[in-house]
């Protein structure tokens, strides 16, 4: 599994490279490689005309949390490797905001691990997005109150 820590590993101001993430989790023992890609959509709850998102983070804390989420998920679910990249800065409509790559011996573990990682990132990592609308206005996405890692583990326990 990926054991690197630090914001620069998991947070990227540059466009995300899905081929690179796939290569990162490539493993001869893997019978499944799953790529989850979150993308910019043209609306959110009660908001239409979104043309871009702008992300910012408490980067060092987000990096530490994403590293912990990857490590804990790999201990809880038998996967081969997990790789994560989350965008910072402006991301245009349709472009990826996050890619999670998981390799595992079987598809079930890959799906479960991918879901666990995205759910926990959304509830724990201090990352914020601003919605840029086509009329030029913008506003912060409503978001959710961050959980502690312990609370998130309880709320995302799949068993």
């Amino acid at each position: 599994m990926t054991d690197s820590t630090g914001a620069d590993v998991f947070l990227s101001p540059a466009p995300l490279d899905r081929d690179a993430l796939r290569a990162e989790v490539s493993d001869p023992a893997a019978g499944a490689i799953l790529l989850f890609e979150g993308t910019v959509r043209d609306h959110s709850e009660g908001v239409s005309g979104v043309v871009a998102l702008e992300y910012e983070a408490q980067a060092s804390m987000a990096g530490k949390i994403i590293a912990a989420i990857i490590g804990e998920t790999a201990r809880e679910i038998p996967v081969r490797k997990i790789a994560v990249r989350h965008r910072l800065g402006r991301v245009e409509l349709g472009d990826p905001t996050i890619i999670i790559a998981v390799s595992a011996s079987h598809r079930d573990e890959a799906y479960r691990a991918s879901r666990r990682v995205i759910d926990r990132i959304k509830h724990e990592a201090p990352i914020w997005k601003r919605e840029i609308l086509k009329d030029g206005t913008s506003g912060w996405s409503k978001g959710c109150t961050a959980h502690s890692a312990e609370e998130a583990r309880e709320s995302h326990n799949e068993n």
């Binding site: 408490q58 996405s141 409503k142 961050a146 312990e150």
Partner: protein, 83 residues
């Protein structure tokens, strides 16, 4: 006892308060809610946002039950929206 702590703001709170940090005097010992109440008292227009926020110390979310006798710096994590 009171102590002056450095408070860091991000995203919507940084924008609303027009600053990315400030020094705030708080009464110790204090729990997370005491610190958020103190910040809401200083910035009443952002009260709802503060009360929906979490506090991080040393880049870890604190437990609501944690009691702090000594604090140098906190990060205020307003509602997050990554992914």
């Amino acid at each position: 006892m009171t102590q002056t702590i450095r408070v860091n703001y991000y995203a919507q709170l940084r924008e609303a308060l027009k600053r990315d940090s400030e020094d705030v005097t708080v009464a110790l010992p204090a729990r997370e809610r005491d610190i958020l109440d103190r910040l809401a008292e200083l910035h009443p227009r952002q009260r709802d946002l503060f009360l929906a926020s979490r506090i991080a110390v040393n880049e870890d979310y604190v437990d609501a039950r944690d009691l702090f006798n000594d604090l140098k710096r906190v990060d205020v994590i307003s509602p997050i929206s990554g992914g």
